[in-house]
Amino acid sequence: MTETGFTPDEMMTIAAARVMRNDDVCFVGIGAPSAACNVARLTHAPDITLIYESGTIGTTPDILPLSIGDGELCETALTTVSVPEMFRYWLQGGRVSVGFLGAAQLDRFGNINTTVIGDYAHPKTRLPGGGGAPEIASSSGQIYITMKQSLRGMVDKIDFFTSFGHGTGGDHRQRMGIKTAGPTLLITDLAIWKPDPETKEFTVVSLHPGVTRQQVQDTCGWQVSFLEELGETPPPDERELTTLRQLTARTKAAHEGKTA
């Protein structure tokens, strides 16, 4: 905790929650995106439709799932469909307005790597891989990304294109025959970023309270562009913080105790 009364992680989750709208249909990645989407649901977006790739549609979990297929997701869902149906009808069919992803490695154009660090055939570190992400990235109406900033995570060049963002920028998506908008928002623990309308390079549009440009640059592997009229992210309000902290506490208790 800092003197601001909230942590950078909390600011990140709450800033990400705020961008979700009540009428969104969101395909939720596990981890930080899942926390943000559920804070949105528990505050300003009670009717948001959350979809997890295990097939649960319209799920309203009381605790955050550890995996994308926890029983809680199914029990609180409007309906649960098979995994082939999930990917064919609901994602490929164009029913998802927002895909919300995390990333191990991200570049300035919103391309994501969660596959390998190093060479694919002889990796330095073998990561879990893409799962649903390659098609979430191309079939969702738009993509939001949330991750903590670090030199290891935000890199000049990703080691592997797990999912395609804006490629080398500009109209690369359209040239690839991809019709959806792709990454339109990046929310980190320090700032909110949006792609430049022309180049599609992520540009900082708002700094979180107390964060300096230098801090953003020091934890990012590319030369950061800042919007001329740079904003400041409003700090979390009491309702947002209480909702997130209670959700985190319930989740921690449930995951640690075998009988919880």
Binding site: I30, C74, G131
Partner: protein
């Protein structure tokens, strides 16, 4: 369809060198069946699964696997699969071949297998790096619109293993909750082995429930708790603490081997009943 004990079912249905799927999308993972395969030391396997979590980490770590076909090799919500990583990065205990896909591709490929088609066609892999490293990811042109679509071969395992809630006395099987790709995995396979929590007189299935008729299944084995540390909806919860603990166990070769000896090699299918006792309704 035969009702059998798990030892006999594994022995009769799975051979060295087979291509085998143990499906379950976080829910209903057939852990007991996989442990029986490890005890019988059936080797040189090509294993298929969308989310090869702990069971494949265990089979790979025990050296039974030649190749893994998968789309997400992680301990869901926890991190990496450390035994699988050790095999890929350091060839321990043996080199491991991988064929990596996306979830959409695997789900479509199972459906193609169940449908008797040679390949699956879908809109996918747009700009994705896997196209460059997996020669089984190809494309076709739609004859009506000219759109380029992704194509992957159908998945048709020699054997599929799944876990389900219950079977009736004829061997019709009911699956509910997160149903994953299990129906497709069974219908795509030459042989299917199903472990169930219990046998009942009546499945009490409403008309649209996911039911596999007895004539689609080779063997059914009653193994209460057989999905642990995964879960069976309506019977017991996911043992999230065990998934967190696995991260430590799998981090070290010796610790892994000690754990496998005690909890798998020297254990039996009957042990699963006790493992879920504190996780839900009494069995």
């Amino acid at each position: 369809m035969e009702f059998q004990n798990l030892g006999d079912a594994v022995q009769q249905n799975l051979k060295d060198g087979d291509t085998v799927a143990f499906e379950g999308f976080t829910h209903l993972i057939p852990h007991a069946a996989a442990h029986e395969v490890i005890r019988q030391n059936i080797a040189d396997l090509t294993v298929i699964r969308m989310t090869p979590d702990l069971v494949y980490d265990q089979m790979v770590g025990m050296g039974l696997v030649r190749k893994v076909i998968f789309s997400y090799a992680g301990n869901p919500g926890v991190g990496l699969l450390r035994r699988m990583r050790d095999a890929i990065e350091n060839e321990w205990p043996r080199a491991l071949e991988i064929e990596e896909h996306s979830h959409a591709a695997m789900a479509n490929a199972y459906e193609a297998g169940a449908s008797g088609l040679p390949c699956a066609i879908f809109r996918g892999y747009l700009g994705a790096g896997l196209k460059q490293v997996n020669p089984n990811i190809r494309s076709v042109i739609c004859p009506f619109t000219g759109e380029e679509l992704a194509a992957v071969p159908a998945i048709c395992p020699d054997v599929s293993f799944i876990h389900a809630q219950k079977a009736d006395r004829k061997g019709n099987v009911l699956i509910e909750g997160i149903v994953g790709v299990q129906k497709e995995a069974v219908l795509a396979a030459k042989r299917a082995v199903v472990t169930v929590e219990e046998i009942v007189d009546d499945l009490n299935a409403h008309p649209n429930m996911c039911v596999l008729p007895h004539w689609t299944i080779s063997s059914i084995c009653v193994v209460p708790g057989g999905a642990h540390p995964s879960y069976t909806h309506g019977y017991y919860d996911r043992d999230n603490a065990a998934y967190l603990e696995w991260d430590d166990i799998a981090a070290d070769r010796e610790r892994f081997q000690t754990w496998m000896t005690k909890n798998v090699l020297q254990s039996s299918p009957e042990a699963f009943r006790d493992r879920v006792k504190s996780l839900g309704v009494a069995l």
